[in-house]
Amino acid sequence: MLEVKNIETLYGLVMALRGVSLKLEEGKITAILGANGAGKSTIIKTIMGMIEDQPDKGTILLDDKTIAHKDTEWIVRQGLAYVPEGRQVFDELTVQENLMMGAYTRRGPTVRQDLTRVYGLFPRLSERARQLAGTLSGGEQQMLAMGRALMMRPRIMFLDEPSLGLSPLLVREIFATIARINQEDGTTILLVEQNAAMALGVCHHGYVMENGRFVLAGTPAELLADEDVREFYLGIKSEVSVKGFQRYKRKKRWR
């Protein structure tokens, strides 16, 4: 499966990833939590070869073969699909055309089957099959971006902030679908999220990221039990003064 070893990624002179190692387990959901600018998306973009000449150091192995410094188009054909942050659907193509673009590298009757399956997963998309993608709501565009990635029949699917800008109800629906895709197709999923509660609810393994490094890793149960995660990611305050207001701010302990 996919293994990332000690990668360092630079944006010009700024170091966004400071030595990140990560191993995806086949058929499991892995989540990366972290605040804005922690470097979560950069990990995926580096793996997908979307940042030119990066990673600066380190290796990315898919089935023990290196895929670092290859073209995005080539990496996609190895069965890696990326649902980008901010959906990135093709605004002026219809919903169905968008989905068919997901199957661009494939041919044959299985494509039709997958189209029916995606419409089954997201019935809202089938109602709007002939509509231009740009006219969809944010939630529908997220579904479309996920459906489009599913049309590739990926081995590994990267999801970048699928909850961004969606209503709580819709977020729950999207995460339920993510779990379903993982169970039914056995797709390995790497999830990048700020919504820690939702992400820890579906994943099998989680990492916490800060300033371009992983600071904590473990099963969701371990992470949920961690005091720092509870306070800084789940917003559950643990220390309250006798008078009922917070007297000091807790410091994170992992640095």
Partner: protein
Amino acid sequence: MFFQLIASGVAIGATYALMALAMVIIYKTSEVLNFAQGDMAMLSAFIAFMLLTSQGLGFATAFALALAFAFFLGAFLEFAFLRRAKEPTVLGLIIITLGLEMVIYGLASWKWGGDQKDFPFPVSDFETYNLGGGVVMSQLNLVTLAVALALMLMLFLFFSYTKVGVAMKATQQNESAARLMGIRVNRVLMLTWGISSVVGAAAAFLIAPTDTLDPNLMWTPQLKGFSAAVLGGMTSLPGAVGGGFLLGVIENLFGGYVSVEFKSVVAFAVIVLVLCFKPSGLFAKHYVRKV
């Protein structure tokens, strides 16, 4: 008189529409205005001329080969020059096309000379048909119109129903997302240039018999095509077609009723007016992005 002017305007407009289409196809993918468009077409017309006269090939073979040449010429120019630009800006790429224009012009002048030649064509400009209502169209006009319409229909079908055509549109809209679909963006760009060059060459084959063949052949049609494209909003293929026909008709009406001397100025007046009053073009039905 009025209907006659409109009819011949439509016939002329068909060639403008083709040139406009050729420019828009490239502009849409890369926002590059291809100033070499006209001369690429001119070179293809010279190739057809050479195949017809010195090689003595039949019309069908000669034109097919020249169109194939046009396709490879467009793809080659993209591959060999535009893609080589390091950290390209739109302006830089436009300057490259200007350079290409001069190189091609120079090559054609050197190989075939600047003198005016007769371009052999299977249909005549002098054989006319009376279409009723006092409207007379030459055989050439009718063929021009038919070929142009057929090409437009083919382009429409290609962009709407083929996987590659839709992938080209997808690349135009969001290049990085297109890469994520596994679309080889560089190949799409090359193909874009090839197709655009073929459309331009078809226009040149239709224009050459009305005029004489020399290296300046496509200079005016390119400018007309450009104004037609602006009229249609620069990014819309149906807009370019509509703009081309409209420009042909406006120009002819102006020539017929106002002044023949200033007929060719109309195109530029149209550019200025459109840019002043409706910069998005008359036919732009652009989807407005949600902010």
